[in-house]
Amino acid sequence: MSLSIARLVVIEAVRTRLVLLALAAIFVAGAAGMFAGAIAITDQHMIRVATFAALLRIGGIAVVALFVISSQVREFTDNSINLALSRPVSRAHYYAGRLAGVAIVVGAWALLGLVLLSLAVPVPVALVWAASLFCEMLIVASFALACALALQQVPTAVLATAAFYLLARTMGAIQLLNAEPLTQGTGTGRQVADFAVRVIALALPDLERMTVSSWLVGSISDLATLLPLLVQTAIYVPLLAALGLTDLYRKVL
């Protein structure tokens, strides 16, 4: 039954013109890459590739997060979720199906990135980059799904997901700023802030090390780069799924 729900998610992605949106994102990323390459004096190829890849990543995350949130909120507003759960389907199976469908959509986007980048950089490099993109997008999409289930409103869920993504990508810099000796103090406020930064850093995934453009520029394709990212994804996606499921089970539907 979970597979059927996953299939429905993929069908919805196709019918809501996500493919067209993906093509538009690729066109914009490609055009921006060409423009950046054209105005560069040197290193034109890598500037073009890095710009294209960065926009593909940001575009993919934004499009998939918006799709997941709007799709899940629609499940509530048109009562599709009630219809699905009125059949012999547990809430866990329903959630697993939704998550699997989202993972397929994310996988398709990463595959597209792999194919396009393979035209410009060695295949192993593109493979590591695309695998990392899959991990990053899956974490963000899982968060978006859990948020949409909990908040049931598109604007708040989008804001929460954007805040999560920005915080996770900048947490390293925030930790370093927090460790800055010039701002160190002994007051209670400072200690509370220090504790909060430490706890938030532990609870957030390390997105800062994911899908880095320097891999493309420096031709990095070793497994040692990818392995920690796979482990992080393997930990964080189940964590978000457990959070989402806990909320789903407590909902009165």
Binding site: L202, D206, I235, L239, A242, L245, T246, Y249, R250
Partner: protein
């Protein structure tokens, strides 16, 4: 409005177990990961003013000010402090020039040039910064006289270069309009020739700046007063 929720008991225990285990694993994993390391990054070269106009979506006044905040904080990169003397001053000047190009009436670049970057204890760098201020002054003398006046002070008391101080004071007098610039600033040659002490000169300059209405921002006033107090403290420390 509070949304009704079912009891925690309806959540199957394997899901709660998964939640606890995943949260514990996440925290352990992140705690054992390599902590972010502070790395001193070299100051990059500035982009062109037209590129900055595009990036700032045409809001050049805001871009000029944010650029100054970024440049000012560059010596304090996250987790690391860099001495001014380690900065590439030609690049610093490039950024200051860019901030001025984006907003010619922004006083920040010349204040930073005269009171921060030119105060470094390194004569070649001080001369580079004085030369930058002198060039900027020649483009708009009646608006940028305060920074130029400070270069006279720097040349006389920091570099101990009397001819340079006289040349700068002469340029200040010749290029400015008497109706727009206070008399004391146009007669800075007196400061140089009469050998007024450093603290006294700084005090007269600060008083003159406040009286002329050139310094109205409370933050800038506090900054200049703090520098004067620091100068006095250094002086009394040296005399003991």
């Amino acid at each position: 409005m509070r949304v009704p929720e079912r009891s925690w008991r309806v959540v199957p225990w394997p899901i709660l177990l998964l939640l606890a285990a995943a949260l514990g694993t996440q925290m352990t994993w992140r705690a054992h990961q390599r902590q972010p390391q502070a790395v001193a990054a070299a100051l990059p070269g500035p982009p062109t003013a037209s590129a900055m106009k595009v990036f700032s979506l045409g809001d050049t006044a805001l871009a000029s000010r944010w650029l100054m905040l970024w440049l000012q904080a560059f010596d304090n990169q996250p987790g690391i402090s860099i001495a001014f003397r380690q900065l590439d001053y030609q690049r610093v000047i490039g950024w200051l020039q860019l901030a001025l190009e984006l907003d010619p009436v922004n006083p920040y670049p010349l204040l930073a040039a005269s009171h921060l970057y030119a105060e470094v204890n390194d004569p070649p760098r001080q001369r580079e910064m004085i030369e930058f201020i002198r060039r900027a002054f020649s483009q708009a003398p009646d608006q940028r006289w305060a920074a130029m006046a400070h270069t006279v002070f720097l040349a006389r008391h920091r570099l101990q270069d009397k001819p340079l101080a006289l040349a700068l004071a002469g340029q200040l007098r010749a290029a400015t309009d008497p109706s727009k610039v206070p008399g004391w600033a146009r007669q800075m040659e007196i400061f140089v020739l009469e050998d007024i002490g450093e603290i006294e000169a700084a005090r007269v300059m600060l008083g003159g700046l406040v009286a002329s209405g050139e310094v109205t921002d409370p933050g800038e006033l506090a900054f200049l007063q703090k520098r004067l107090a620091q100068m006095q403290a250094d002086d009394s420390g040296n005399s003991h």
